[in-house]
């Protein structure tokens, strides 16, 4: 259970920084920094640079994604921005535009 949930219908304009998990179902504009896993659920809108641990993206992200662990773009995800992570998966049906950096 993630300790921070940005529910559907919530809009945060600014910076969100957390030491633990984040689930985003609503809207974030600004920055999103997490130390643990980040989940961008379907219907969520993130217009922000995202830094965190393992990431699962099923919503819409406009911004750069940087993960210390892995990034999974799931079907229905729409990502515009650069993705930097050790492991990256892009599922069939995910929309993506940007650079991929896998620390090779």
């Amino acid at each position: 259970m993630a300790s921070t949930v940005i529910g559907a219908g919530i809009t945060i304009e600014g910076e969100v920084a957390t030491d633990d998990d984040v689930i985003v179902q609503g809207t974030i504009r600004g920055k999103l920094n997490a130390k643990e896993s980040v989940t961008i659920e379907e219907g969520a809108t993130v217009e922000a640079d995202i830094v965190g641990g393992a990431m699962r993206v099923a919503g819409q992200v406009t911004g750069n994604i940087s993960s210390t662990d892995r990034v999974d773009l799931q079907p229905g995800a729409k990502v515009v921005g650069n993705v930097k992570a050790a492991r990256i998966t892009i599922a069939d049906g995910a929309q993506f535009k940007g650079n991929v950096d896998m620390d090779v």
């Binding site: 993630a2 300790s3 921070t4 949930v5 940005i6 529910g7 559907a8 219908g9 919530i10 809009t11 945060i12 304009e13 600014g14 910076e15 969100v16 920084a17 957390t18 030491d19 633990d20 998990d21 984040v22 179902q25 609503g26 600004g30 130390k35």
Partner: protein
């Protein structure tokens, strides 16, 4: 879970938070929070922001103005520095508040309304204070007038008050003081309790006289 938003213990949000669902704050929020729903600042929450919600419950620390469409509830452990405005405000035992607190219709948008409200509550408490005072004033004379005739019959046979006051008289007699003075003193101390002095004095006099005669004889 779906409709509830939680800003977790380790989270720090800087900026504006808006929305139409319930929000729980366990972490830190700096900026502004406007929610059309229930906003709860939990015990470990630390908020430096103006909070606006339909219903606002605070158990943690808030520095900023609070306003609610429905109600503001400051529960035990709440520490609030800022103004509080809502139709209904509850400040429970253990909550700390420093700021201007005002109940009344919400949507404290226009300054004119707020000025009118500032003037209105001042008049209302006076009227409210006057209303209870008047019935009390009416009631007390009635009870006094009703009580006066009754005690003459009721208190004279009643042994309890006489026996309580009697030892005082005895002591004063033993000490060598004037018994009549002690009786009048006892009568003087009695009226503030019950009100009517007239029936009390004869009862004491009777007892004290009897005691005097016995002692003298």
């Amino acid at each position: 879970m779906a409709s509830v938003t939680v800003i977790g213990r380790g989270a720090h949000v800087t900026g504006r938070v808006t929305g139409a669902v319930d929000l729980e704050i366990h972490g830190r929020v700096d900026g502004e929070v406007t929610i059309d729903g229930e906003l709860t600042v939990e015990a470990e929450g630390l908020v430096a922001a103006n909070l606006s919600a339909r219903r606002l419950v605070v158990r943690g620390a808030v520095k900023g103005d609070l306003s609610a469409v429905d109600a503001v509830v400051l529960e035990n452990g709440a520490r609030v520095v800022g103004d509080v405005r809502a139709p209904r405000i509850a400040i429970e035992r253990g909550a700390l508040v420093r700021g201007y607190v005002q109940t009344g219709s919400a949507s404290a948008a226009s300054a004119q309304r707020s000025e009118a409200r500032e003037a209105a509550p001042r008049a209302k408490p006076q009227a409210a204070a006057a209303r209870p005072a008047a019935p009390a004033a009416r009631a007390t004379p009635k009870t006094q007038t009703q009580a006066r005739p009754a005690p003459v019959a009721a208190r004279a046979p009643a042994p309890a008050p006489a026996s309580r006051t009697a030892p005082v008289a005895h002591n004063s007699v033993l000490a060598g003081g004037a018994p009549t003075k002690s009786a009048t003193l006892g009568a003087g101390s009695a009226p503030p309790r019950g009100g009517p002095p007239a029936p009390v004095v004869p009862v004491l006099k009777k007892g004290s006289k009897g005691a005097l005669k016995k002692k003298a004889g």
